[in-house]
Symmetry: C2
Subunit: 180 residues, 2 copies
């Protein structure tokens, strides 16, 4: 952030009166511009025991497999966002169930929220952000080609809970992966 | 939003290629400025059966009672945010537990996330955003003076669950209240 979105003049970082963290503050109109974590919302759609995955057509992680998920939009609920992403990425009609995972992605300033979901019919297809979609038995899941650590976490907890007849909510914190 | 935070030139609303919602887009550098819901995170701190509430020293709802809660900051987890807000608003040291409520506040573009929490000692006090803090038995809670509908929802579900020996997670969607 270099300029004020309210008046167009330059911003600088300083700690406002009564605050305790540096914020971008406009030197002209004094508007304080707060930056907060964003919500990425998705689900684990299941149909006849199989899991719906999407092969990404966009960066990051183009060509890798993921659960339907994306940025929550203003004016929708978490559940609406998860259902919308399923429709957009996999042309999938889902019924959103309980929460399975919440992953704090500390370095990315994101919170990833994944629900259980029932895929209402097997008529799925690749939306514009997907190269392909597929329904996978547990033993068919392409673990080395899963796009994101949060998605792998949610999928593994989902499958464990399913085996154990549970319906848990699992938290996880992610920091940057170790570099080679 | 009137100006681009990257280059300072005017923005206008249009639907970018491949998108389906209007966004603020810079006419000069073409940066797309996404706006997403913000997370408000807090907790229900309990000590010896009593609930910690804070009387607000700031607008909105100055003078009304609330649970410790506030905007999540970049770089922290939901749990860290809930604990930080308890310290800031009530000088309270808490141990964050399970989720009790997630409230989608559709018109405000917010998601309110409330955890159960154990207040580790009764040494609490009013932080700069509080006029007073107090530990309330269930029958002492000032229901007509609770600041926000999401806080009332979380408190009521918390107390119901406690009576029933449960530990549920409760969802709720809020739209604007009816006007007189």
């Amino acid at each position: 952030m270099k300029f004020c979105s309210a008046c167009g003049q330059p911003v600088s970082q300083r700690i406002p009166d009564g605050d305790h963290l540096p914020r971008y503050v406009c030197g002209a109109c004094q508007t304080i511009h707060y930056e907060n974590p964003r919500l990425i919302v998705g689900c684990v759609p299941e149909y006849d025991g199989k899991i719906l995955l999407c092969k990404r057509a966009i960066e990051p992680r183009l060509g890798y497999w993921t659960l339907p998920a994306g940025f929550m939009e203003n004016g929708e609920s978490l559940q609406m966002a998860a259902a919308r992403e399923s429709m957009e990425e996999a042309l999938a009609t889902v019924e959103i169930g309980s929460l399975v995972a919440i992953v704090n992605v500390l370095h990315a300033h994101q919170v990833h929220v994944l629900f259980r979901a029932r895929l209402l019919n097997p008529n799925v297809g690749a939306g514009p952000e997907s190269l392909a979609v597929g329904l996978f038995e547990e033993h068919e899941i392409p673990w080395p080609d899963i796009a994101f650590r949060s998605v792998e976490f949610a999928l593994r907890r989902y499958l464990e809970d399913r085996r154990n007849g549970r319906d848990g909510l699992h938290f996880h914190d992610l920091t940057p992966p170790p570099t080679a």
